[in-house]
């Protein structure tokens, strides 16, 4: 069931989103050569807890950390570890915060030091595909319009879309209906109405779109070992157009 939020509820939810965005921004400021992903997770945890919020992902389905941190060929759901970041790495950080009964969810792929030109293009295109998807998140459109905008942007640039993992509705629960695939046909799927809050999150690969899950049962990585990027924002559908709630 798709839940529609009142303006007041969206206002409350925007606080959780701001905290998630602030945690992500702070993590980005620390993404430097030599830091471990576990240290980054601690920074994120401390920041979220200091605001009175809770990390949405900690314990969710048994996930053992506050943030999903995925390096290079890891697509999503990477578990923070003692692995140190090196120059040329890209690091996808996915952070959620739960505050005043609502969740906020966002992700960004940061680069560490000097990265390859193709990887740089991957980051640009994935980020652009997210903004193309957000542009279509207007009252009266359908989920398929968002999906199709993302797919077109990615495929015309020669990259591939991960199909197994999709965006989602968000609110009092971290994952609500509707699901928002990053591929699909325009004009299909549920219609967007005022008050819906959704998380749009394209996951884009340089090589094959096929992914596999590690033995830890969480980390999703590309099957060919090529790099993958992930960007995400929580959006409110309003009469005045899409509003990005995960903004600092």
């Amino acid at each position: 069931m798709i839940t529609v939020k009142t303006k007041k509820e969206i206002q409350r939810m925007s606080k959780a989103c701001e905290i998630a965005a602030l945690a992500l921004k702070t993590a980005g400021e620390h993404c430097e050569v030599g830091i471990t992903t576990l240290e980054l997770d601690n920074i994120i945890n401390k920041l979220i807890v200091s605001t009175g919020a809770k990390p949405s992902f900690l314990g969710y389905g048994g996930f053992p950390a506050s943030a999903c941190i995925s390096i290079n060929d890891e697509v999503i759901h990477g578990i923070p570890s003692k692995r140190k970041l090196s120059s040329g790495d890209i690091i996808g950080v996915d952070v959620g915060a739960y505050y005043d009964d609502f969740h906020g969810d966002n992700a960004y792929t940061f680069s560490v030091g000097e990265i390859d030109i193709e990887v740089d293009k991957l980051l640009d295109v994935t980020k652009k595909s997210l903004s193309e998807g957000i542009k279509m998140a207007v009252v009266g459109n359908r989920i398929g319009d968002i999906s199709n905008a993302i797919q077109m942007c990615v495929e015309k640039n020669g990259f591939t879309i991960v199909e197994e993992y999709v965006g989602h509705g968000i609110g009092k629960k971290l994952h609500e209906m509707p699901q928002i695939p990053n591929f699909g046909l325009s004009g299909k799927g549920p219609r967007l109405i005022e008050g819906m809050t959704i998380a749009i999150e394209p996951m884009v690969n340089i090589g094959s779109r096929i992914v596999k899950v590690d033995k830890d049962n969480w980390t999703v990585r590309t099957s060919d070992g090529k790099f993958s990027a992930h960007f995400e924002n929580t959006i409110a559908i309003t009469a005045d157009g899409p509003v990005i709630l995960t903004k600092v």
Partner: protein
């Protein structure tokens, strides 16, 4: 995250490789999957967990597992394959 009832999964082994299905039952290491079409809900395909790829796509808790509902839900994930079959 484990494979759960109501999760959409993707076949990664067998002649149906890459097709999306819905998990309608789980018994030990085997899951029973249906797409409401080639594998109908009354006779789901028994598949080893190792031959399936997980997703973060789920049906609602109130979902009724009829073939029509399953087909409708999976259409947007399987349509590329189904369209290419029509072209052949």
């Amino acid at each position: 995250m484990d494979i759960l009832k109501g999760m959409v999964v993707r076949s990664i082994k067998g002649h149906d490789k890459e097709r999306f299905y819905l998990v309608i039952n789980i018994e030990n290491d085997y899951v029973f999957i249906s797409d409401g079409k080639t594998r109908r809900s009354e006779k789901p395909k028994k598949k080893n967990v190792k031959h399936l790829s997980k997703t973060n796509i789920f049906v609602d808790k109130t979902f009724i597992y009829t073939n029509k509902k399953i087909r409708q839900f999976l259409w947007r994930y399987n349509y590329v394959e189904e369209m290419s079959n029509l072209d052949e």
